[in-house]
């Protein structure tokens, strides 16, 4: 159990390090700042929060089956979702804060959902490759004898 804490830190470092290397190389090509990245980050946070919230509200119905259909968690989750939607509306409507190359609030919201669909597909495909290759490596090794027969 003592090994688990440093291993998690190592895993986090392994996740971030290749990205940092690629970013460093990208920066070495040009010294331009990328202000649009902040907008993209903000939009991605809010959109994935809202979409994931909707999916989790759907899961609450199955949870409710084993709890005599309580309303409290549903109301709580709808409130959490409403906060996300209100924040999205406020930040996108506020001048140039989160509005990208779209005509208005509705276009930006729809664009965010489609963007999430595409980036989610890319991440899912990358996960299939990474996890698939990991399992392929694990199952690829010949079985080893644990004990020699006497």
């Amino acid at each position: 159990m003592k090994q688990s804490t440093p291993s998690w830190k190592l895993l986090a470092l392994a996740a971030v390090l290749p990205i940092l290397v690629l970013v460093s190389i990208s920066v070495s090509f040009e010294n331009d700042s990328h202000p649009e990245s902040f907008k993209r980050f903000g939009n991605a946070v809010l959109t994935s929060y809202v979409v994931m919230g909707i999916i989790l509200i759907g899961n609450l119905f199955f949870y409710a089956d084993s709890r005599h259909r309580p309303l409290a968690p549903l109301v709580g989750m709808i409130f959490a979702l409403a906060v996300g939607l209100a924040l999205s509306w406020a930040l996108i409507s506020n001048d140039d804060l989160l509005l990208e190359a779209n005509s208005g609030l509705r276009a930006q919201l729809l664009s965010n959902v489609v963007h999430l669909l595409v980036s989610g597909t890319a991440m899912a495909l990358a996960s299939i490759l990474a996890f698939g290759m990991t399992f392929a490596m694990i199952t690829g090794r010949e079985r080893r004898l644990l004990f020699e027969e006497e």
């Binding site: 291993s7 190592l10 895993l11 470092l13 392994a14 996740a15 390090l17 290749p18 990205i19 690629l22 190389i25 990208s26 090509f29 040009e30 990328h34 649009e36 990245s37 902040f38 993209r40 980050f41 903000g42 991605a44 946070v45 994935s48 929060y49 994931m52 919230g53 989790l56 899961n59 199955f62 949870y63 968690p73 989750m77 729809l110 664009s111 489609v114 963007h115 669909l117 980036s119 989610g120 597909t121 890319a122 991440m123 495909l125 990358a126 996960s127 299939i128 490759l129 990474a130 996890f131 698939g132 290759m133 990991t134 399992f135 392929a136 490596m137 694990i138 199952t139 690829g140 090794r141």
Partner: protein, 272 residues
């Protein structure tokens, strides 16, 4: 006045078409999955999900005026290499030492070949004429979103898998090295795209979208984590508010006899 009314009506029709042919089918996919996962209407769930997916894939023909359907067009464009990748990964996993569902050992090699071909197809989609073309000979705007995100995330995930295998696995250094090599290959492809122009995109564009992809990946992870945290807090608060369950009465003699008889009837076997 009449012209502006006609314009508004035309715009309304376009919105309605986009809703009917793209947005509603898109919503049908998770809805069908909910039915499928719940186990209450598995077949209906499958039908709804597949129907939704097919309509989303066909949306670039059914409602070409909508910009959102570029996403459906992109998914349709990448579906062949995606299926090839999934087939290859399946063959590589189940061609090895697995206790159930084991395939012929040659499936590992055919699987590896399929994975390599799928990655080559993705590369050709960037550097050769396989690039997904959207309206009027223009590149699909979401291709330049998909490609850097896929490369960065697979680089990162393969690196995590490699380190994880060394940290948690037992004598798995060789396998971890192979995963690290895959990670380096994916990083190499990303680096090449940063240096060499694609068929319809420039290296400058790729570098710009690299930043946006990183913002996308971190933003999506943060957003999903926040939603799951909110969900956990809601459930925790509700469960905490529930009264402690009352102790049930101990089983009666009759109930114990019934349980014992059931146990005896299920413990069989003849002595040697």
């Amino acid at each position: 006045m009449f012209i502006s009314y006609r314009l508004a009506e035309h715009s309304m029709n376009q919105m309605l078409e986009a809703a009917v042919w793209f947005w509603i089918p898109l919503c049908l996919i998770p809805l069908g999955m909910w039915f499928l996962v719940s186990g209450k209407a598995k077949n209906l769930g499958k039908v709804i999900s597949i129907l939704g997916l097919l309509l989303v894939l066909a949306s670039s023909w059914t409602v070409p005026s909508s910009d959102s359907t570029a996403a459906g067009h992109l998914i349709l464009s990448i579906i062949a290499p995606t299926l090839l990748l999934a087939y290859g990964v399946h063959g590589m996993i189940f061609g090895g030492n697995v206790p159930v569902g084991r395939l012929d050992p040659s499936a590992r090699w055919s699987g590896l070949f399929a994975v390599l071909v799928s990655l080559v197809i993705f590369c050709l989609m960037h550097w050769y004429s396989f690039t997904p073309i959207w309206r009027d000979g223009q590149i699909n705007p979401y291709w330049i979103v998909f490609w850097p995100t896929f490369l960065i995330f697979s680089t990162s995930m393969c690196c995590v898998a490699s380190v994880g295998l060394v940290s948690y696995g037992d004598n798995r250094f060789n396998e971890a090295m192979k995963l690290a090599i895959i990670s380096v290959v994916m990083a190499g492809i990303a680096l090449s795209a940063m240096v060499f122009d694609g068929y319809l995109t420039t290296a400058d564009q790729f570098r710009d979208y690299l930043w946006l992809s990183i913002a996308d990946i971190f933003g999506t992870i943060v957003g999903i984590t926040l939603a799951i945290t909110a969900f956990a807090i809601v459930i925790w608060a509700y469960e905490k508010s529930l009264p402690l369950p009352e102790n049930t009465a101990p089983p009666s003699e009759e109930e114990i006899k019934h349980v014992v008889s059931l146990a005896i009837s299920h413990i069989g076997g003849e002595e040697e």
